[in-house]
Symmetry: D2
């Protein structure tokens, strides 16, 4: 099952790490640490092998992929020896990267993307291509009447307006080209009625939003812990210090707002109430690709006794995100092969702000993911799946 | 369903907090924060109401209960207004406390305990009495041939040897008196073949060991998080600073060893390997009834990138333990009423070192607890329960 | 040497704690922990005794002082037993509190303040009254031409404009009444040319700004540590979570800006360069009078090796500030008695943003404070003092 | 002023980092970050230039220096580019390393060391050689009557006993060869009456003990902060997790005891009382050359209000120690040139357990160091120096 992985933002840190890692796994130079789909509970025949993944993508930047990989090695994100061992493989992927279409109406740009996707699929004789958005977070998008249905949208795209935010234009093009779409960012992506309808019409699955890589991952196990113990969380405050490209971007209050909101949602939906406090995001360039998050939780127990917990998470976002990108590509490809259509709510495990998910508890998300994967491997329908 | 709660170590901090809290709940002066059995998923008709709980117990100490309660109020463990509002109720419990039998052979001491228990049950016309051990942690016990079966044990107890550690002598007496037994400490308690056989013969359930109140609670959600994400935990080191009575006791290397071992077991069994590092326990008198635990976790992700997490837990052990003592008394009473016999492995949620439990993941333990409780409420058998 | 301590914001947490503490010290019910002037290096005959301090003050609030004291006791800021032991003493101070003048031109309000101050001084036959501003932080003030000299200012105050921010109006009134003035807040206070000239004309000392109670105290020893070790601080980021009255006030971006700026100044002036990062202030009501600050410092050592340090400070601002208020009142009174005039730059030890200070290193500030105090005790001039 | 730097433990991490750093400074490939003697307050003509330092040393290990340097580069302690740029320079130092004499009586071994030192001095026509002990920490040494005076010692060394611990044997040989001696470890070194007398007889200075690189550095500024603020430190507890060679060594309880004791001394001598708590040292191999220390400080302020502070220090011991080794070599060489004799108590700034020092406050130690250095530069006597 030859599977294309088309990365939007293909020269960014997450994409570069995903590509180097995918190539290293194929070459047997690295193990699958961090790849959830290689755990005994999820592994199985329905997933494309790492060796079957072929990488391509769009980017507005033009830095050569091997330069980006070397920079990440210097920053401690990747082992330099892997980059040094894979020059031909990286050059081959470089050949598959395309500039992000930047001129013309949105319809024209979408058509260019569709062409790049179908050419890629044909050139490599791929069974399917999964498009994964790993580009920088967009500011919160503004509503537009054409978001309501595919026909109106198609029309509107031919006009001069920026009807769709970039993430949604890629989703539109992917679905038009018959490709499943995954949004690893908090951007709008496929979350518009017109795009949902389009996905259903084309028999395509989609997944998202916002990869759960750091502080929110921890929140998604600690908040259920407090809930299961019937302890009252009185405040939950935190700060995220981050230095990479997305850091500068998130320091922008508009993008920040989208991210912070998806972070706090986990608490309210898990606890049943929203504790005091909030999450700050600050850009500290010198931290590079690493991120330090600190959270303070004050809570009260029996008879009101006040207690507290703090944690510091010092993680490398790209190293945490990249294996999940590979996991999502494999799972979404398998879901497509199995005829799943529409939002893949069983992939909530991977996301801060999962599509249609009734739970933010990592444990419950894991149970659903394991069932979903088992169904794919055994060819059965999962509870809420739909046949194409 | 009038239910006795007989506390071994009845004048200690955990017991005093449990008693004041139980009385305050009965009087409507406090809410059930921290009581797991009051969560919507567990609440139900099979459990005795708080108003149906009657408290008694043994202790080697003689400090009046109200003095202990006032001291805990001064230390910030309890609100002083509750102690002030319940003078008659506390005096009534004081009447039900008995000195721990300290002279004669172990058989004679056991007989004295049995007498105290049956007198208590008769005097208050109780449907049953649950014995809960909340006394100080014992040093690791030494094996004795008489631990093998009830008959040999009964014989050996009449001799001059200290055949059983105190916790097991109380378990023996409880079972002999027809009372279910719960061990909230890491001590031996009912974990001896002779006592297991005795429990089965008498048709009694028992539960334990070692209430999961602080750092280990956090471990039991963080370790599964790393496992579910396929991240490799390279080291997990920590220190527990604690000041209460159990602190001085645990600073003793022998008791310390038992506690530390039950703490590390969570990691090995959840991760499938034992990371480097260990847990230290230090006594710092000035911390009083509060405990500060700090843990450092180093882990590696995709392609070996090193990352780290730290947490500090600042909790009040008595305030965390007391509602669980009430929960365990209610659940064990209901299990007894429903004819459950032998180790209550479905109560693993409450314990650092649960009896016969296949999992240390808090999420999975919660699922089992919810199923167990549902079965009690609906009168069905749970998967691994046995009718009396 | 009978000394009045007139608190602007007399019913606030800091003032109430200062008053209760001062009365408790006088009554021998508490020791001088936190009072720098009771250390062997500073103690001496030039300072008024605690027994010689008489409290009074202004406030816009009207909550009775004993109610505020009881609320602070409930919040864990003060021991309840002290409040209970001092009912008459607190009632006597209550008699000395006056409403903050709120109507009329600024000249009329200043005159009312002057009257309150001179009445207080006469009524108690005080040698002098030190006015200490402990009211809420003001937004950054706007400049006004009348700030340039006393005569222009006097004129302008009679008009309808709010020429002076409240803190400066109190400073103006204090100086007019012949009282030294101390500003414990980051507000403008006496930092205007007109008020400096007025102080010199009247032969009065003044001190400020912004009591150094928590995170900045730690910064003022850690930043010199990095400097003395020739380590390069690459980033210093932090967050302050605070719940008291000043918390809500500081969450206001305008006031926040003033506070944050005075916090960062310590770093730049000590290190000789400004590292990346900044300080956030967030209001979390539930933290009450306690404040939690977390800082992350990344630094590089020999050959560029990256390292890091974190600290969490969990302090009670009122308990940290109150003894310093007493210290400042005593020291400023002694300075006045010794004929010191103008800004007391030797009191930099106490302040985040000290008047005219060449150093932010706590150690160097301490050395200057000890020399200043020694000079007062021995009757000698200190290096930069001026005789009246 | 050509100066030899003879390192005992010359192939260890600290020594290797010192050598690579010294060579890189000489070659202009790195700046002097972390080198205290390059700060404006200390820099000056009395100190030998980096270009004048010549390295040599003893070690029991035989791993080539460039292998050790490459391993440190892989571990993130050194930039790999420096090691790659200095192959000839490292090879030249390799030529100057000698095996630690391991056979014969202690007198014979001392003679062999003396020969190595004098040969080194002659071969390079050095003005002097400073011997710096950076080998692994020894267990606490046992007393011996021959420690009392040089003559008895000389006699005893010819016998079969291990009269001196290794660090003292090196000190003895250094002094015999006319070389100043610096002990960067907590081992005994020159701290024996016989060796002090020998140093005075030969007109040689010596310095030590135990380089202040991490947690204790922080303690030496925080403890004075609490003292200057008259706050009562109630407990100070901590844990050190470390992975390097010294980690395994310090996990040995005997060596651990020596280290822990020198750490706690800072607190007692600075505060005037010893707070509760202690410091643990644990070996966690995976941390490699980095060390993580966590400390919890509980303290009480005005009227007894309880507060707390935590810090985590994540440092690279070798990177922190190496520039100090260069500093100490330069300062001790200058002191020798200026005729200083006996313990250099003005170098307390560098040590956890300084010789004869009356203060553990980093600020005061800095003041003394600056005065000492100024005296060297200007050719004046410092307060407690002695002319040769």
């Amino acid at each position: 099952m030859r599977t294309g992985v088309w990365l939007v933002g293909a020269r960014g840190s997450v994409a570069t790490t995903s590509i180097v890692g995918g190539l290293a796994l194929r070459a047997g130079l690295a193990g699958p640490t961090g790849c959830v789909t290689e755990l005994p509970e999820l592994r199985g025949p329905a997933l494309p092998a790492f060796a079957d993944l072929v990488f391509g993508g769009h980017d507005v930047a033009t830095t050569p992929l091997c330069k980006r990989a070397e920079a990440l090695a210097t920053a401690g994100v990747l082992p330099g020896r892997l980059v040094a061992a894979l020059p031909d493989e990286l050059a081959a992927v470089e050949e598959e990267l395309r500039p992000a279409p930047g001129v013309g109406s949105q319809a024209e740009r979408a058509a260019a993307i569709v062409r790049d996707l179908t050419d890629f699929r044909d050139r490599h004789r791929l069974d399917r291509v999964v498009v994964v958005n790993v580009s920088a977070t967009e500011p919160t998008a503004t509503a537009h009447p054409a978001h309501a249905d595919p026909a109106t949208l198609r029309d509107a795209l031919t006009g001069p307006d920026e009807v769709l935010p970039a993430s949604s234009l890629y989703a539109y093009a992917a679905l038009t080209a018959g490709c499943p779409y995954v949004d690893f960012t908090p951007s709008t992506g496929a979350r518009l009625p017109a795009l949902h309808t389009l996905a259903v019409e084309r028999g395509l699955p989609y997944a998202g939003h916002d990869g759960k890589t750091g502080e929110t991952l921890v929140k998604s196990v600690l908040a259920p812990m407090f809930a299961m113990r019937h302890l009252t969380v009185r405040s939950w405050s935190g700060i995220n210090l981050l230095g990479g490209g997305d850091g500068a971007n998130l320091a922008d209050p508009a993008a920040n707002a989208a991210k912070v909101e998806s972070k706090q949602r986990v608490l309210g939906e898990t606890l049943g109430y929203v504790p005091q406090g909030g999450t700050r995001i600050d850009y500290v360039e010198e931290l590079g690709d690493f991120k330090t998050a600190w959270d303070l939780i004050t809570f009260s127990g029996f008879l009101g006794t006040g207690m507290r917990m703090e944690f510091t998470w010092h993680g490398c976002d790209s190293a945490l995100a990249a294996p999940l990108v590979l996991d999502l590509a494999r799972l979404t490809a398998a879901a497509h092969a199995a005829g799943r259509v529409g939002p893949l709510t069983d992939l909530a495990f991977f996301f801060k702000d999962p599509l249609g998910s009734p739970t933010h508890s990592l444990g419950e998300q894991w149970t659903r993911l394991a069932e979903f994967t088992r169904a794919l491997h055994t060819g059965r329908e999962s509870a809420d799946g739909q046949a194409g």
